[in-house]
């Protein structure tokens, strides 16, 4: 049986063990002091969300631009690979890889939350063994929510790669577009209820991850008021996936264009 194309992305990364170790280790190194440093939950959750989303966006955009520049993407297209299949493979492969690399960091955040036992609170609290239910119950939701956000981040990276004309432009666009979407997703401020900001927060794809991390960093478990938004928030990445698939031929033509 033939392996699917997305498996190529995963297999190639698993082969580059040093890079894999760096990609697992660096998020851990960045998350560790924030998680153990008693940062207020709102600030800690913002840092985590920005880190994870940028990881996904950069991780998708930069290799795509590079593959466009080297001509390998063009070769694959000219051999007869379907543009939709190629982009889907990049999206799924990238998401799985990012998840693989970020899951240790997410586990650390959840473990610290459990250890704090709800003592982190909105204002941050002392570290120590907790007594409450803690964010352990969030762990079940964490994986699909993380996958959804990373899929969205990877797809944003595809659009960035199509817009950029160089790696430097790609890095710039990835940062600007991600921060813009993160802001809209309520990561840097809490929008007033019923406002346009609140509406945007509900539909933009990084809101669910932020909410989950906010609860985890605050030592809170699954509460009824976040369950529904978290699950419904998974629709955002799927809609983005659909739009990206519809535009795939034009996007990949731009990314791989020899006359770029």
């Amino acid at each position: 049986m033939r392996a699917p194309l997305w498996w190529l992305e995963v297999a190639l990364t698993l082969r580059r063990r040093r890079l894999l170790a760096l990609n697992v280790g660096i998020p851990l190194l960045l998350v560790l002091p924030v998680a153990l440093g008693g940062a207020p939950a709102f600030h800690a959750a913002a840092v985590y969300t920005v880190l994870f989303v940028l990881f996904g966006t950069f991780g998708s955009a930069i290799p795509l631009i590079r593959d466009g520049e080297t001509g390998i993407l063009r070769r694959m297209l000219l051999v007869g690979a379907s543009p939709r299949h190629l982009l889907l493979a990049r999206g799924i492969g990238g998401t799985l890889l990012d998840a693989l690399q970020i899951l240790p960091s997410l586990a650390l955040i959840l473990l610290v939350g459990i250890w704090q036992g709800g003592g982190g609170g909105e204002a941050g609290g002392s570290i120590g063994p907790g007594a409450g239910p803690g964010p352990a119950s969030l762990a079940l939701l964490a994986v699909p929510v993380l996958l959804g956000a990373l899929l969205a981040a990877n797809l944003v990276g595809v659009w960035v790669a199509a817009l950029a004309r160089s790696l430097a432009e790609g890095a710039l666009f990835a940062a600007v577009l991600s921060l813009f979407l993160l802001h809209g997703s309520g990561v840097f401020r809490t929008p007033a209820a019923g406002s346009v900001g609140a509406f945007l927060e509900g539909i933009l794809p990084f809101g669910p991850l932020h909410r989950l991390l906010l609860h985890a960093a605050g030592g809170r478990g699954v509460e009824p008021e976040i369950l529904l938004p978290l699950l419904s928030g998974l629709g955002g990445p799927l809609i983005l996936l659909l739009i990206t698939q519809l535009a795939a031929p034009a996007l990949i033509e731009r990314i791989s264009s020899p006359l770029r």
């Binding site: 580059r16 001509g71 000219l78 051999v79 006359l259």
Partner: protein, 362 residues
């Protein structure tokens, strides 16, 4: 028809002409060689045929389908080896071959595709488990050709396939192309291999500045050169002891209608450039007498020579021109280091048509 182009044109952004008003038909089983210097439009034409570029004008049909509607299904029927051998570097040669075969919607494990035999033909079997990042340029070129051939395409497009390849690889390629053509594959290759092209191709296309100058079987093109011989004379020292009248151009050829190179060719910028910086060029000096020499149809300074140290003489007398030619040069005080006699080839015919050299000749 495997390829049918009518008035095909392509201009790069900025206006540079890639190909212009090109008419081309290639039948299944036919091997066509595109010959032309750098920038003549060979690679652009192949990229149009590979659907890598979209025509700016004209119509193009590939395997019976309009090229503008090219999708994955059409592309899978075309094998294209571009001039740049790009692969997935962390993968081994064997893995790259299987990957590109699979992308072309063929099963790499299908024994009828003969992937192992292809690797063997190109001497890559021993390194098929080595990452491509460790391959030499020539090995990457061979792997690229194997990848283009593996899915058994109906139309095969090869851009400078012999560049960087060893003689065994070139022989293997020639054999494979012959086999594929006999089984109905249309092959179009861009090359400046004036030795191999007539052996491999059923038709030769001369391209110059994006236009087709000649399109004929090699034997017909070579027939135009029949009976002619070229003698290259390498002169001693700095070449000719120049003297003579002011204003004369450095470089000349025989009169109109004579010789392989028109007058314009000898006085071309290339010819001038070849003689630039060598002495006070005020005339042709003792070489002027070559005009009147019996058996000399035409002569010219060799454009690739570092200076006026080499001339090329065209004759219909074959080797019999050597004694009088040598005697003439020695009498004129011109030392001769080497004489080389050869039959004219497609490169000479191309120069005769365009005034431009096809390739560097050793």
């Amino acid at each position: 028809m495997a390829v049918r182009a009518r008035g095909l044109g392509f201009r790069y952004p900025g206006g540079r002409v890639g190909v212009e008003s090109l008419e081309l038909e290639v039948a299944p089983g036919e091997v066509v060689a595109l010959l032309g210097p750098n920038g003549s439009g060979k690679s652009t034409l192949l990229r149009l045929l590979a659907t890598d570029l979209r025509p700016s004008s004209g119509t193009l049909e590939l395997l019976g389908l309009p090229a503008e509607r090219a999708g994955p299904a059409l592309r899978r029927r075309i094998g294209y080896a571009p001039d740049d051998p790009v692969h997935v570097p962390p993968l081994t040669g064997g893995e790259n071959l299987r990957l590109f075969t699979w992308l072309a919607d063929e099963d790499p494990e299908d024994p009828s595709l003969g992937l192992a035999a292809l690797l063997q033909a190109f001497d890559l079997s021993d390194v098929s488990g080595t990452p491509v990042s460790q391959y030499s340029f020539g090995m990457r070129r061979k792997l690229l050709l194997a990848e283009a051939l593996a899915p058994r395409p109906e139309l095969l497009l090869l851009d400078e396939p012999t560049v960087g390849m060893d003689p065994r690889g070139i022989d293997a390629l020639g054999t494979l192309l012959g086999e594929r053509a006999r089984s109905g594959t249309a092959v179009i290759l861009a090359t400046n291999e004036i030795r191999e092209a007539p052996l491999w191709a059923h038709r030769i296309l001369f391209l110059h500045r994006g236009r087709v100058l000649a399109d004929a079987p090699p034997e017909i093109l070579l027939a135009r050169l029949k009976g002619r011989t070229l003698v290259r004379v390498t002169l001693e020292g700095d070449g000719v002891p120049w003297e003579g009248g002011a204003g004369a151009a450095p470089g000349r050829a025989g009169g109109e209608g004579r010789g392989l190179g028109p007058r314009e060719a000898a006085n071309s910028p290339e010819a001038r450039a070849a003689t630039e910086g060598f002495g006070p060029f005020q005339g042709l000096g003792p070489l002027e007498g070559l005009d009147a020499m019996e058996g000399v149809e035409a002569w010219r300074f060799h454009p690739e020579a570092a200076g006026p140290g080499q001339i090329e003489v065209e004759t219909r007398m074959g080797g019999r021109v050597l004694p009088p030619l040598l005697q003439y040069l020695l009498d004129a005080g011109i030392g001769v280091r080497e004489l080389r006699v050869r039959e004219p080839d497609l490169g000479d015919l191309f120069r005769a048509l365009t005034g431009v050299e096809l390739e560097d000749r050793p």
